[in-house]
Amino acid sequence: MKNNYPACSPMLIAQFMYFPAALRTALCALLLLTVSFQVKAQSPLDKPVTISIHNQPLKQALDQLTAASGVRFTYNETVAKSKITISVNAQNQPLGEVLKKALAPYPFSYTVLDQDIMIKYDTEKPKKQAAALAGGGKYTISGTVKSKQTGETVIGATIRATDVNQGTSSNEYGFYSLTLPAGDHQLAVSAVGQKSTLVPISLNSNQQLAIAMDNNEQSIQEVTITAKAPGTRDLANPQMGVEHLSIQETKNIPVLLGERDIIKTIQLLPGIKTAGEGSGGFYVRGGAADQNLILLDEAPVYNASHMLGFFSTFNSDAIKNISIYKGDMPAQYGGRLSSVLDIKMNDGNNQKFGVSGGVGLIAARINVEGPIQKNKSSFLISARRTYADAFLAFSKDTIAKKSQLYFYDINAKANYILGDKDRLYISGYFGKDVLKASDIAGINWGNTTATLRWNHIFNSQLFSNTSLIYSNYDYKINIKQDVNEFNIYSQIRDLNFKEDLQYYAGDKNTISFGVNAIYHTIKPGEISSTGNSGILSQNLQNRYALENAAYATNTWKATDRFSLTYGLRVSAFTILGEGDYYNLDADGNIISTQHYTSGQAVKTYVNPEPRIAAAYSLNDFSSVKASYARNAQNLHLISNSNSGSPTDKWAASTNLIKPELADQVSVGYYRDLKDHQYEFTVETYYKKMQNQVDYRNGANVFTNQPIETQLLYGIGRAYGAEFLLKKKTGRLTGWISYTLSKTERKIDGINNNQWYNARQDRTHDIAIVAMYKASEKWTFSANFIYYTGDAVTYPSGKYQVDGATYYYYTNRNADRIPAYNRLDLGATRQLKKSAKFESDLTFSLYNAYGSHNAYRIYFRDNKNDPSRTEAVRTTLFTFVPSISYNFKF
């Protein structure tokens, strides 16, 4: 298109006519823009503003910006109702820049709409940002999550970067480490009992960040972005078979005689079964009561019950948090087949001094805590004493009148923050039970534990904890009879060293590794006697053993949806002299004896224990998991009583007692319902057990013969399905749990070497727990429990020996105790609540409809007609009301 026309306006217009249409439109727009620029001088985005806004909800913040800049915003309801809070600090900066910075971590974008600015919800924004940042490298943010009010570290807090779908949770010392792409992020932090919080971060180097959370017992106002309720099961984490409870969640559950009891509470969860009323034990997935490792601040507790099992040794006032692993324990734990119950004590408030306590029907409690130096160090002392024996004074029975029956326990802890990188903890537990019938007889027993721990943060990715642990359990029996007095003393004592390291290797891998060495001393019993009984005082040989273990495990986030944890624990149990070890014949008679000198190794059992677990997220609200774990156990509780007697014997593996082994495979499905308000889980498992120990028929429990002469060995199997539906938020909270299961044993020499039901085989087990916060003043709660009766052996016939009736037995544990059922009710009335003083009254009614559950069933000649026999049921508790008063200042 050539022409020779001189450049003039009409010509220009004429040429313009030939331009392609599209280009023309663009030019027009440009022209228009230039014009308007000249006329109006600036867009609303360029308006300079000076403003300071601190953590205001989005709508209020926008209103304030309007007031400061004169620019109006338009938005829809999503924006207006958003609960995100923003902070702005601008000195004469263009509004556009201010908005960009303030909205950076959130899925909101803005556009100019004439003279206004439109804010809209933009789900694509985080992805675009992440993509843009991908090239910018990755950095690690790490630190400790704490409570603002008490300075207590928060265990299991979820820390999530809202924009890049990456998260972690704080470990048992509150430490977290999260590796993220460089740039601006928003961390959403949530934990049970704490107000959820959002922390904006700008990451361009490794960074340390201490996160302080507000206590919020009412909890529940959730930031919309995090959506999930705090404490919700981690759907993406491969860890299976675990339940975490914070003490706050359990405090309204009604309990016997009003004594809050963590061990009784976990028995309401699927797969964990009570060993019965009046028993402190519990069974996990068909395992025996001694196959549970109970740790209090990492120290093993050998007898976790008070008063012959009616109460647990753990004073709820001193406890922060518990976790129970049902056989799929992480590699850092070992030594028991069925479960690990990991109990963490409070650290002590390092912000202010406080006293709390309570007075109940049978016990009083007091808890004192406070800073030694504010923000740096704190202490906690918590004590409890029962006075049930006060009631004995009213008894008509002269023996009962002069009897003693009480327990007390003390938890004490102190911690010291040595700087950014180091923290020391020292904690101890001391508990004692005294049971004394007048001057005639008495038993006292108790646990003592002490733990010294040192947390060290090597760098933002490597966390270390070193522990020195002492644990002791002993009992003493004293009996006076006529002119005779007998004393029996037995003890198990551990010295324990543990080193655990966690390496947060980037955003895909978390590696844990460590070592553990325990030196066990077991004193099976010493008997001393005075009088004319002829009983010779004697000491049974002490048993010594060294239990070593090393482990390494990695959790690998392979993709956004798939994670894998794989690891290995190797345990080595060495039996040490000095002592005699035996060879026995099939009937348990000693054939030969071998003496070992002090420190000489009798035998070492090495067991590799692989642990593997995988999780696959189907979507944001459901996942499937599978896992396999092997566990070895070298300490065995030899008991012929199901009620957990304090005199039950702990025995270490010997040349004859082999380590117990369990292999468990489990598969589970996890789903959050109704916007994460409910969680539903199903887990199924199959467990195979080897080297199970049981008493011979007619075994003698009180003997100074080697214990092996009384034992038989065999295998076990357990399988089942566990269902849990839980509601964690709102006025009504609680859960329904149901377990369908089977557990059997096959022991050479018992039941004609055929499979038989283990005592704890219970087909159905249902627990319903509900707590309802009716008002600020009243909270109501209820439990309902139903389970199939224990598998027991009833007579199939009877006969006379020497003029007395005896019973004939056929198949072991082929019969059932009648099914157990019970309803408990509870109510808490808040009396006073201010910042300075809080108090409440707690009422409970145990077994509210007076169900006559069998504690034991036995058989005897009828009292009125001795020519007949009868079955007799003993019931322990029907309608037990209680009231207790609790305070805190």
Binding site: A441, S641, N700, Y808, R812
Partner: protein, 272 residues
């Protein structure tokens, strides 16, 4: 001492937690009757007696139905001594007495089945004396003072010894199994209190002023001790303890019961 500990635990539990007891109806399975043999040979004349009976269903009455028509004999290295039926399942040899260190074999043939057992006569340990001691654990059901007999004897140091005591109050035989051994008392002068359990509160079992109390001391074979020990552990089928099982019998061939060859001595006192 073992039983003492057991009673102590039960006593404390019961006094502490007011538990309630009630007879209930349980559906118990029945089985085909099993033979029960009680064979006794003592060092005294007339002490040779074998009783043959069968198990009954739980809901039946407690009367023993003796099994007649069996061939019963006891033999030692040299001779076979037949036992003659005396009716009601009792078989006797009125002249046979056991001699120290002899090993005796019991043979019972009934309805085509043969049951055997062997047992050795133990050395007699002298029963020195018996006396009454007031119970420290509590009173009789009616509130009167409970008394127990204490037996005194000197255990020989060279041998393992096992003892069984049978108590008669006004000639009524006490049902409780009273055992002792020398595991903790070897070679000592022993005073053992015979704590019997009056579990059905029958006043005739208690020792009351004026009662004639006789104690029979038996020196028994280890296998017989084991039988009574295990019989006692499972005595009432208490579902609270380990699963009950049939006692460890020294009878071969699948019968219940025992064969005991033992010494017998008696002492009697009158309760003050």
């Amino acid at each position: 001492m073992r039983t003492t500990i057991k009673y102590l635990m039960i006593a404390l539990l019961v006094t502490t937690f007011s538990s309630c007891e009630k007879a209930i109806n349980l559906k118990l399975s029945d089985t085909t009757p099993q033979y029960v043999i009680e064979g006794v040979l003592t060092n005294q004349a007339g002490g040779c007696k074998v009783t043959l009976s069968q198990t009954k269903n739980f809901t039946d009455n407690n009367d023993v139905i003796g099994i007649d028509g069996a061939q019963v004999s006891i033999s030692d290295d040299n001779n076979v001594y037949p036992l003659t039926p005396a009716g009601s399942g009792v078989y006797q040899n009125t002249t046979l007495t056991g001699a120290y260190a002899h090993i005796y074999k019991l043979t019972v043939i009934v309805a085509g089945k043969t049951f055997t057992s062997t047992c050795a006569m133990q050395a007699q340990v002298a029963l020195d004396s018996i006396y009454l001691v007031k119970s420290s654990f509590g009173n009789n059901a009616d509130g009167t003072v409970r008394k127990y007999v204490t037996v005194k004897y000197h255990d020989p140091i060279a041998t393992k010894n096992y003892y069984r005591f049978v108590q008669y109050v006004n000639d009524r035989k006490e049902e409780s199994i009273l055992l002792d051994d020398d595991e903790f008392t070897n070679g000592q002068e022993v005073n053992t209190q015979l704590n019997f359990s009056n579990n059905n509160d029958n006043p005739a079992r208690d020792i009351r002023p004026g009662n004639k109390v006789t104690i029979e001391m038996q020196c028994i074979d280890p296998a017989v001790y084991k039988y009574f020990f295990s019989l006692n552990s499972s005595a009432n089928g208490d579902g609270n303890n380990a699963a009950p099982s049939n006692p460890v019998s020294n009878v071969q061939g699948g019968a219940l019961g025992y064969f005991s060859v033992h010494t017998v001595q008696r002492k009697t006192l009158t309760a003050p």
